[in-house]
């Protein structure tokens, strides 16, 4: 079941104005750089982007914001981005902020056929407005619904021709749940190998969740907060 496509252009075919995209990554870590560059080239507009963060001004999803391609961001934290702030304050950009754990769980739920679940996160805050509240074990919880997307775009370290993925370190983050929740899931990987090369026991995202896979040409992997200690 070969899912390999030759380049980001082929991988992203079918993405149209107004669609909902999930984009993996936490900050600039584990983001699908090559696909984002292709989205910029495609000039698709009015996108709804579900992504934990919105990149920085000149990298990550910030690039889509620069081109005013995003109508709405669904995220948990959107700092580090001046253009974002400008568009948000001017009302050009709609923003839906969601607690990070609820965002992760809502993506997983979307992929897992769980339409809704109760969580304590956000109870008593403005996040809970309009949401059903129910007490379990003496503690109030709110009902949160599943998230899905027309396309999910994820980034993995290694992938095979059948779409099986392995992520590296904390570049895993939201990628596995988003891979589950996309109607069509596109994976860009640093290293693409033949099926049978990866240990079936070590697959993070089974190929069933991935429809298209390609090897990225180049990964800049920009570091957002370079913190180091000095050798004694």
């Amino acid at each position: 079941m070969n899912k390999v496509v030759k380049d980001p252009q082929t991988a992203l075919e079918g993405i149209e104005n107004g669609m909902t995209l999930m984009v993996g990554g936490f900050g600039l870590c584990g983001i699908p750089e090559n696909s984002i560059a292709q989205l910029v080239k495609m000039k698709v507009k009015n996108l709804v982007c579900i992504s934990n963060n919105a990149g920085v001004d000149d990298f990550g999803l910030g690039l889509l914001l620069q081109g005013k391609q995003v109508r709405k961001m669904i995220s948990s934290y959107v700092g580090e981005n001046d253009e974002f702030e400008r568009q948000m304050l001017s009302g050009e950009l709609e923003v839906d902020l969601i607690p990070q754990g609820s965002l992760a769980e809502r993506c997983r739920a979307g992929g897992a056929g769980i339409p809704a679940f109760f969580t304590p996160a956000g109870y008593g805050t403005e996040i809970a407005e309009g949401k059903e509240v129910r007490i379990f074990n003496g503690k109030p919880h709110i009902l949160e619904s599943a998230l899905t997307a027309d396309y999910a775009i994820v980034k993995a370290w290694k992938g095979d021709t059948e779409g099986n993925l392995i992520y590296k370190a904390t570049a895993r983050n939201f990628n596995p749940m988003m891979a589950m929740a996309g109607k069509i899931t596109i994976a860009e990987v640093e290293e693409l190998v033949e099926a049978g090369t990866l240990d079936p026991n070590q697959i993070h995202t089974p190929g069933i969740f991935v429809q298209r896979i390609f090897q990225g040409q180049k990964f800049e992997k920009r570091i957002e907060q370079r913190t180091v200690r000095t050798k004694q």
Partner: protein, 218 residues
């Protein structure tokens, strides 16, 4: 004398117990990792998907694929593990993390916390804070007693949009250690040389003060 940020972190570190898994927020809480008491072992969880965080890397050894929730480059200790964000918050929501330390803009006497949004100002988002405060059994807030305008952050009721309700158990500021119970602040300790009167003056919420309030041992 009021504590500095490292002093606050040092005092909070005294709350750590052997075998605990701990989530540290950005800012003062991060510093807690530098003051783990001798003879105990704790493990740090970062909500972007890591258990067993180590110190910052040596220059030239930074790995862009290895960061903490503050997006800082880090390292891992022996026995670390990586996982996805859903599993990470399963740990948090499922109360597998024994202690959460985070900053706040306001705390109220019934344990409400506000730390994510100032109306009229740019909203950056709550990140994982709402999940953390709604879930943790044990939450310590690390913050300054007053804001930059000199107003108390220890309030009868929070004025800012809430992050969580009735969840904060303990607050450590540059002036004091306070417990929250029965809808009141309880003054447990004062910073070395800081008077009870100063703490009372700088605490807007109701505070229970015993006849004798010991000084912190830092």
């Amino acid at each position: 004398m009021a504590l500095d940020k490292n002093g606050i972190a040092k005092r909070i570190a005294q709350e750590l117990k052997d075998g605990w898994y701990v989530n540290l927020g950005i800012g003062i809480p991060t510093l807690v990792a530098n003051y783990i008491p001798q003879g105990i072992e704790v493990e740090f969880q970062s909500e972007n998907g890591i258990l067993g965080m180590g110190p910052f890397p040596f220059e030239g050894e930074e790995d862009p694929d290895l960061i903490n929730a503050g997006k800082q480059t880090i390292t891992v200790r022996h026995g670390a593990s990586f996982f996805d964000s859903a599993t990470s918050f399963a740990m948090i929501r499922g109360q597998h993390v024994q202690l959460t330390v985070l900053g706040a803009m306001e705390v109220s006497q019934n344990g409400d916390i506000a730390n994510w949004k100032i109306p009229g100002k740019m909203v950056k988002g709550m990140g994982g804070a709402m999940d953390l405060v709604a879930s943790a059994e044990n939450i310590i807030v690390a913050m300054m007693h007053s804001n930059k305008a000199g107003q108390s952050k220890m309030l009868k009721e929070c004025t800012l949009p809430l992050t969580g309700v009735g969840c904060v158990k303990k607050v450590v500021t540059e002036l004091a250690v306070l417990e929250i119970k029965d809808g009141k602040f309880h003054l447990l300790e004062r910073a070395p040389g800081v008077s009870v009167e100063e703490i009372i003056a700088k605490t807007e919420g109701e505070m229970v003060v015993a006849d004798f309030v010991p000084e912190m041992k830092i």
